[in-house]
């Protein structure tokens, strides 16, 4: 899911940085408007660590192998903290694992961070119409994970397909991109299941964690 250096043309990576800068600014503004902006920092910090490590856990799906992203989970649990958390996690992944790159940090934050904000709004729907129940938390947690991962895969595919360089074999690269997208379909549901499991578990054990989101 991480686009490395040298794959995309410079203007596209620049646009990615611009979108990420604006989104980070908006996220931080929303965080500052909260009553106590520091309250959710521990939660955000721990989930940043989870996000950072998740990309190291490979799930083999022939012909390739995929890794967990957890952006839906971060969005559901963190709200607007998710975007800065993902940005920091991606930075460390790029520097330490070589997953993604520094020039593409903006575009990768866009691919994984924007769907996290969508996941946040989906997860909030559990409170609508008659209040939150364990079942609704599970259902909307699942949807948050599925939709976030689905949008990420779609963004990844669209950005790559619209920026294919002329000198490579476009047909086989397109086929490879589609194959990779298909390999990610199981991951979409795995992410949904993980998000549902974690949110319902937290609601049972420490409901306070879900208060703010």
């Amino acid at each position: 899911m991480h686009i490395p250096d040298g794959i995309l043309p410079l203007p596209v990576t620049g646009a990615g940085y611009a979108v990420t800068a604006v989104t980070t600014w908006y996220s931080v503004r929303r965080i500052n408007q909260q009553e106590d902006p520091r309250r959710d920092v521990p939660k955000a910090s721990l989930l940043t660590a989870a996000f950072f490590v998740a990309s190291w856990i490979h799930v083999p799906v022939p012909p390739t192998s995929i890794h967990l992203v957890l952006n839906g989970l971060l969005g559901a649990l963190l709200g607007y903290y998710a975007f800065p958390a993902i940005l920091i996690g991606l930075f460390f992944q790029a520097v330490m694992f070589g997953h993604g790159g520094l020039t593409t940090l903006g575009i990768n934050a866009m691919i994984m961070g924007l769907p996290a904000i969508v996941a946040h709004y989906i997860f909030r729907l559990r409170k609508a119409r008659g209040g939150e129940t364990q079942k609704k938390t599970g259902v909307f947690g699942f949807l948050a994970g599925v939709v976030a991962m689905g949008i990420s895969v779609a963004l990844f595919v669209v950005i790559l397909l619209t920026n294919l360089p002329a000198e490579i074999d476009v047909v086989s690269e397109k086929a490879a991109i589609y194959a990779l997208a298909i390999a990610h379909i199981p991951l979409i549901f795995i992410e949904g299941a993980i998000t549902a499991l974690v949110t319902t578990f937290l609601r049972r054990v420490r409901p306070g964690v879900l208060d703010g989101v």
Binding site: P4, S45, A49, T64, S65, L160, D169, E173
Partner: protein, 150 residues
């Protein structure tokens, strides 16, 4: 098994017999050699899976924008090519498959060691670095969750 060896020996004798009558008449010697360096690239994901059928683009040192050669990796993620040694410098080889990939910079003529963009860390090093980052995050969490003094 033994029969096979006899066949081989017989073939060898026949080959020698064919080679022997060739005329060795000239006394002037004309020696030529070419020292082509074949560069073989192996492309793998960091999970160890070879990047089968990945697209390879080779850029010569004098032009970073127009590909000098394009090709495809084999099933094992291997690709080899012979660079033009009249163009010494750094040859850039890009490998990509479904939006994943990287660039390796290969010096031709002069140095012989190649280094790619990502440092070749061992699993232990990566584990240690990850542990540091995770501890940094846990430390941040602990710092912000401590009780505030009234």
């Amino acid at each position: 098994m033994r029969g096979k060896w006899y066949v081989l020996v017989a073939l060898g004798v026949v080959a020698l017999g064919l080679a022997a009558p060739l005329p060795v008449s000239a006394h002037g010697v004309n020696l030529e050699y070419t020292s082509d360096v074949t560069i073989e690239i192996t492309a793998r994901y960091d999970s160890g899976t070879p990047m089968a059928d990945a697209q390879v683009t080779v850029y010569a040192p004098d032009d970073d924008t127009t590909p000098w050669l394009t090709g495809v990796c084999d099933e094992e993620g291997r690709f080899s090519f012979v660079p033009d040694t009249s163009m010494p410098g750094t040859w850039d080889v890009q490998v990509r498959l479904a939006g994943h990939g990287g660039i390796i910079h290969i010096p031709v003529g002069g140095g012989t060691t190649a280094a790619d963009g990502v440092g070749g860390f061992t699993h232990l090093q990566i584990g240690l670095m990850s542990a540091c980052v995770v501890w940094g995050a846990v430390g941040t969490a602990l710092y912000f969750s401590r009780r505030r003094k009234a």
